[in-house]
Symmetry: D2
Subunit: 308 residues, 4 copies
């Protein structure tokens, strides 16, 4: 493994190398609150399980977690429901994007996995049904993981999501028609969108997920966030399904469990080593950050981190 | 890592532990040549990149490779075509089984990945088009990898497959209608079924794939079978797509790149360590060997081999 | 054409002949309000454009219109929107039942035709958006057609539908996500379910739709309910799509434009002659009344009414 | 009904009126033999069951029947197999075009109806299996109907179809994998393509199908070609499914059972009156002749022929 200061200088170099790609992507525009983010920004942070933190770029600029939030929600639901969760959501890759709805139909309301929208809505239903104040519980969980009381959900993003959430409403009602949503749909969607609207920066995000690289134990306070087995499982799911319809290509090129969000964040887990987070708002056609993908794949290659 | 003799005794113990599961599966019956195989057989072999070989059970009983053969064909086609291969086949997980055909339709004849049937048929087309005698070339390749001149294709299985190959013919003609099959379909299918009919035992199979655990280099003769990058890529594809519609669950439970076939074989790659093969003919509803799955998952757990 | 009294006696005879089929069907049970209807009831009514009315059985027992109400809503929306309606809904048969949702996805929120649920929800949106009190407007329209002020919507059925309407909510939100629903979804669904809950008997229903057999003119008051062209069009749509996934078979066996509902009603239009309605609550697997189908097909055969 | 000479003059007038539309369509180009046909040609013929024949334009120029041939094949298969045919092919409209293959998958190899390709391939299988020389039997049948010994199959078109028939081969092998094709696929496809390559002109085509407008009886020789019931059934199928994915719109606008082919022909049946055929090679996006559609819809409107 490289020396600490070497890592920082690698990160800075990769950042410079990746900036020409800013214009190859397009900022998410399905809600105004995201469309207004300036595209030419980027950051990378590497947190290691032995306590180091290396960053380059705008590593303390906050962004909207969006789908990256599904990882936190999943861990909470696994802790609450145990293996029963897997009766309500599968753990298989989802294949074609157009399947999101036909698949629910075919498999009678059971989503393919917990990190596609339908699956995360089931997870939200679990949280809404098991916590008296699930939005707060979610924030509390993240704050403890990040060791930071100031993480919050962006209200403008939240309200904007709610307003443009018809497609997710369709998924939720379809699942409810199959009996796979327990709470009222509007409440479930409110939790889901609130969770997506969580605002974090690269440093916080990298730190907060270290337990997934460390057999379930959060290094800064030695808390067992989830079982070792569940940490493996989350990584396994991220590895087959975390990068939308580019998950196979990401495994192919990078070889690490990862999750991305349309806010431009990507988080990659390196078991026994640490967590890499990258952020840059402009997305490719799959919804993954162009510069973020580049940063993580160059860094993983440079340090030989592929699991394969 | 455990001592060599410890490994052998673990394998024997696991075999005993798994035998009660024989009756939970069902031998593949879509062709008579496979349906006649006695169900109550099992074997496991572990080959390591430092030259050890441990086995338990019927490790020198030959079985039909079936879909496991796709791994060899893929490596050959990657070597021949280079990155151009990825214009003709994707590298994404395939999702629902019923999609095999609708997906080809939707994505204009480009299969989701090279280890589903449609993808392996494209790979076969590449081999037929680039070798004057592709069936021989395939056998020669495997024999060199296994360091064994006696590996052959079972003619009864081959002819039986040809006779019952209507569904694969449908896939091939559909891809040809999109211009993604170059050779004549009957010739492509002949190669494909011949490849599937290859007969090997657990020892041979484990040894022959060591290069995938060893950055592309076959240990016994130091031959660079494929580039390090391509070895990673094959492992990545197997990790998201190698176990049919149980690939996610296998990643979840075992956490290793693997490929199974309806002949009852499963091969799992442990990067930097070696290859595990297991065989037992009775299959679960996904087409994966019941006892084979059990053997590999217990062994991986015992030795802590999960990549995640 | 047979003599009037001959028709009545034919109807009575057919009713006797069809009663043994009561037990071949099953009353709709997706909402309690429908599940409680006694299965062993049946009625048939024939209204002619020259003012005759013939009935047999429980022709003044009211039932829930359910999907038959789509015909009235469609005529209202055609009158209001003119040809612009056909930018928001197609006029093609819908094929496989499982398509309802994948088709909306594939065709970007445009339903295949106005008599499947998705299409009728678009029609409801048109009515909600163009009438200040669309539920009342709908009842007023039907009452005028039936020349009967006592037709109403059954509140128990309406509330029951609302409560079990998750699948229709999924369709509505999906279409809204494509911009094909203008009003708020709950309001649109409220109209839709209210319309479905309309309660009528066979006599009223037959009389009220005579204008479709009479080039748009309602015989009892000579009102031009819709243009001659639109009357043809409604009949054309019913002829390809009115009987769920048995529309082709109905054309094959009966050869008349028709619409059925899961309340057990079927209405068939005989251009230039009149309207046949039949009702019996037990349904076949396609959702069509078993005895109703039998009554109408026997009557059409007896009188040689097939258009083909 | 108009006077005979009036009909001829109407046809001539409609032809003039429709010619500006030549350029709105595009000649079928999937096989060279069809792509070479000059686009600016058109003809219309009306044969009545009382023996009149009216034509305008190139009514004795021969064209390729293509899918119009499915009507003849269907009648032959109904005669041979009786109601057993309907265990092997349904009679429902097919919905979305992309379904052709996924539908076969979903419904286990049973095509939606006999006038889509999959259904016509099953019909071809019936003919191949029940006639020692099915191609000749087909030509003999048409020649007798048209009372013309000179009708033949165009060899250039036939060979061209065979060469470009991969998609139909895919359908055939898929159905064979479900056990719904009895003969060898290449033989079935040879019959199918030979049938499609039949060459006829508008006059011959109109005359040959008069039995469908006349309860199964061919007027010129009083032969009962099929039962009255089967004539109704064929008309019913054409009415819901004869015009590809524009069948609903055709019912809506014209209101007659009809079948079109990519050779540019359209035939419409007017029960108890006669048969209209139109031909012009340039097709709209659905595969229907632009000028042919216009000619038939104007004529049907002019004479008030809609069944609805």
């Amino acid at each position: 493994m490289k020396q600490p200061h070497a890592i920082t200088s690698i990160l800075q170099q990769l950042l410079q190398q990746s900036q020409p790609l800013y214009r190859e992507g397009k900022v998410a525009n399905y809600i105004p609150a995201l469309a207004n983010v300036a595209p030419e920004q980027a950051a990378i942070a590497v947190a290691t399980i032995d306590g180091q933190l290396h960053t380059a770029g705008a590593a303390d600029t906050a962004f909207s977690l969006q789908s990256v939030s599904k990882v936190f929600g999943l861990v909470m639901a696994m802790n609450r429901l145990g293996d029963d969760l897997w009766h309500r959501v599968n753990m298989e890759p989802s294949g074609l994007p157009f399947n999101s709805i036909v698949q629910l139909e075919w498999e009678k309301g059971i989503p393919r996995n917990p990190v596609i929208n339908a699956g995360a809505i089931v997870v939200s239903d679990v949280l809404v049904s098991h916590y008296s104040a699930s939005k707060n519980a979610f924030l509390t969980f993240i704050r403890r993981l990040a060791n930071n009381e100031h993480i919050y959900a962006d209200q403008a993003v939240y309200l904007s999501e709610l307003e443009h959430g018809n497609r997710n409403a369709a998924l939720a009602y379809l699942m409810k028609s199959f009996g796979n949503i327990e709470a009222e749909v509007p409440q479930v969607l409110a939790h889901y969108f609130h969770q997506c609207a969580t605002s974090m920066n690269c440093q916080q995000l990298a730190t907060s997920l270290l337990f997934l690289a460390n057999r379930g134990v959060q290094p800064h306070n030695n808390e067992q966030v989830c079982s070792r087995r569940d940490a493996h499982r989350v990584n396994a799911i991220l590895s087959t399904s975390g990068m939308y319809d580019q998950s196979g290509e990401f495994a192919f090129k990078v070889g690490l469990p990862a999750k991305s969000g349309v806010g431009g964040a990507i988080v990659a887990i390196v078991p026994q080593f640490g967590v890499i987070t990258a952020w840059s708002p402009a997305l490719n056609k799959f919804g993954n950050s162009v510069v973020g993908m580049k940063l993580i794949s160059l860094f993983a290659e440079e340090l030989g981190l592929s699991l394969f």
